[in-house]
Symmetry: C2
Subunit: 421 residues, 2 copies
Amino acid sequence: MNDIIIKNISIGDELLIGQVINTNAAWLGNRLTDAGFRLDSVLTIGDSEQAIMDALENCMDADLVLVTGGLGPTADDITKPTVCKFFGTELEFCQAAYDNIISLFKRRGFLMSERNRGQAFLPKSGQYVPNTYGTAPCMWLEKKGVVFAFMPGVPYEMKGIFNDELLPRIKERFHQVPYEKRVIMTTGIGESFLADTIKDWEDSLPDFLSLAYLPQYGMVRLRLSGRHEDAALLHDTLNQKIAALVKLIPEYIFAMEDKPIEHVVFDLLKEKGLSFASAESCTGGNIAHVITLIPGSSEVFRGTAVTYATPTKTKVLGVPAEVIEQHTVVSQPVVEYMAQGVRELMETDFGVATTGVAGPSGGSEETPVGTVWIGVSSPKGVVSKCFNFGKDRENVINRATIMSYEMLRKEILSYTENAEL
Amino acid sequence: MNDIIIKNISIGDELLIGQVINTNAAWLGNRLTDAGFRLDSVLTIGDSEQAIMDALENCMDADLVLVTGGLGPTADDITKPTVCKFFGTELEFCQAAYDNIISLFKRRGFLMSERNRGQAFLPKSGQYVPNTYGTAPCMWLEKKGVVFAFMPGVPYEMKGIFNDELLPRIKERFHQVPYEKRVIMTTGIGESFLADTIKDWEDSLPDFLSLAYLPQYGMVRLRLSGRHEDAALLHDTLNQKIAALVKLIPEYIFAMEDKPIEHVVFDLLKEKGLSFASAESCTGGNIAHVITLIPGSSEVFRGTAVTYATPTKTKVLGVPAEVIEQHTVVSQPVVEYMAQGVRELMETDFGVATTGVAGPSGGSEETPVGTVWIGVSSPKGVVSKCFNFGKDRENVINRATIMSYEMLRKEILSYTENAEL
């Protein structure tokens, strides 16, 4: 196995004090994995010369070091001189970098400051890598055979540069043993029980394959991956093992690839030319939010009524006031009226509704915090179920959102399999 | 400065392949900073014995090492034996941990598996730290004066244990030089220009204070912090410097503490007994989503109409069809009708509305991708503004959400300052 060792150094005080979450490292790990590489470690450090020097020195056992951050207009006063010191070089003015900064400011109609001109000074012994996404430069330097690529920390810029410029250079530079992976998405079964259910199958895997359990918000992703010089053997073995796995747990699988459940629902509806809308109480707009992050979601998603206040459930969605009075607002009849009401209001094929107690306070003995009713209305009628998603507000909202999409997915399948479309 | 060195080791293949974002490290950094400590570095590694041994060994220059992850029912087969090897001890059954697991399963009404019993085996030389949030154990071990605390990686469990059990133990164990910080939240001015505007002030700061710029989605957080044996001097100097800073940039400040803008609006409305609702097109429910993450938000937030489909703008919000036809859906008259419409529909004091092109496709020459109209309706009337938030869909949605809250905040202030409430 000639695995190359790849490390990420994430620079930025803002990451260590927790004001910014290091999404860059996860994104890089994901992209590298998809390309058949493996991210070995991530080291997050602050904007200090000593920390940067130590981190760079510590990475001399790697083949490739991806450095993110520390290159903003106010931060690179520290990073760039430190980089020069480490590589034994000095800063010099780079016309290509300067031209890029000028054209960027022109396009945006902003005025340039002296600090922005300073961003065009780069280490002499490095290669300038174009960044069309922002003013911070990207640099490629080598020391004793170790490649160091420096990228800005702004996620939008970092992603653009990595995709456009760095990944092609990395692929060209480093040979890889063939790699392949499969991801299966499950919901409705906990990690421990899933592991027990598929234990014999897991024990039967050959050495060159490995399985990872990736639980989050009531879902478990299963990733089966491996490397082998014989790509065809790798491919066939994965096919066989995945086919055997699917037979063990068919009822829990909602996707045969790494895809969020709202994306599965989006694709299903788009393929069938169907639409939906949501009526949200405890999920507070999150069902709408996650689907509208998908470009083109307006093809299948018509809208949402978030009825946080009880009277608006009656006024906007037509839930009879006496039903709310009799059954309370977190109840089966109310969620079913909501699902049907929003389907009629937005004139869609499906309506999905939630009502519950997201917490952390506000529950009662009969309806404790975490109780959520979810309903799905379709041309065939309405179905609903009650869940308890625990005491953490964010967790309740996320789990209720995922379960809403899972119930919607099952109703779409049941409708399209039986109906004459 | 007797700063203690604190490091975090985050264990988990899922972090390196990017299927899970390391929010734990950011959360720990934030909590430690708030408590006057400083997180020195974060090292993220995979679930392998070698990586864990190397990481633990590498942290022997720290005073305190917080280890997160690697303790789930399927992962701790590797972590716990490795921990034993590093500390020269062995696993032994811990009755207290087992009792905790049993009571947890009872409470949730789930069946226990043999794997869960295995979680009650802990390193003999360590202290068991109770985890009332889940089945994974928390452990406190020492080696040559370095304290290692091991926590599970599930964020909800990790946060609970750290707050309840670990932080009090850490405070008791490590003495700290007095620390104080202030955060100022700004919007409407870019990082470079802000830095130029306050350059003289920044140059005047004493050595024991440091300033950080933390830009995100059109906001810049400014954090001024420091340590000094003389806590009163530190406090007074911070007061003076902050007062001087506020005079330089009053129009850009929306909060004098580290608070998201939706929280500022929530507090304002709550204090005044006022309410709002949103009508969202391009933000797709995100205005509702961020406010409903706040416990108790139903006191000020009544609901949302996400009108992704054009006809629902007419049907639900009463935007005249001929206005949409004449001006197009992304226009000033439409956003103003939406803001007024949702205010009437939800019977609130304020209505905020968005309509725009989130992209990445769908723009035109007159209305390019990134164009967003934002409107705010109040008892005084309606105001609206047009923005361009760039080409990245997620960025457009987030920046439009923040700017909606900023415009709403200014309208609330203008209304409550002038009105007889």
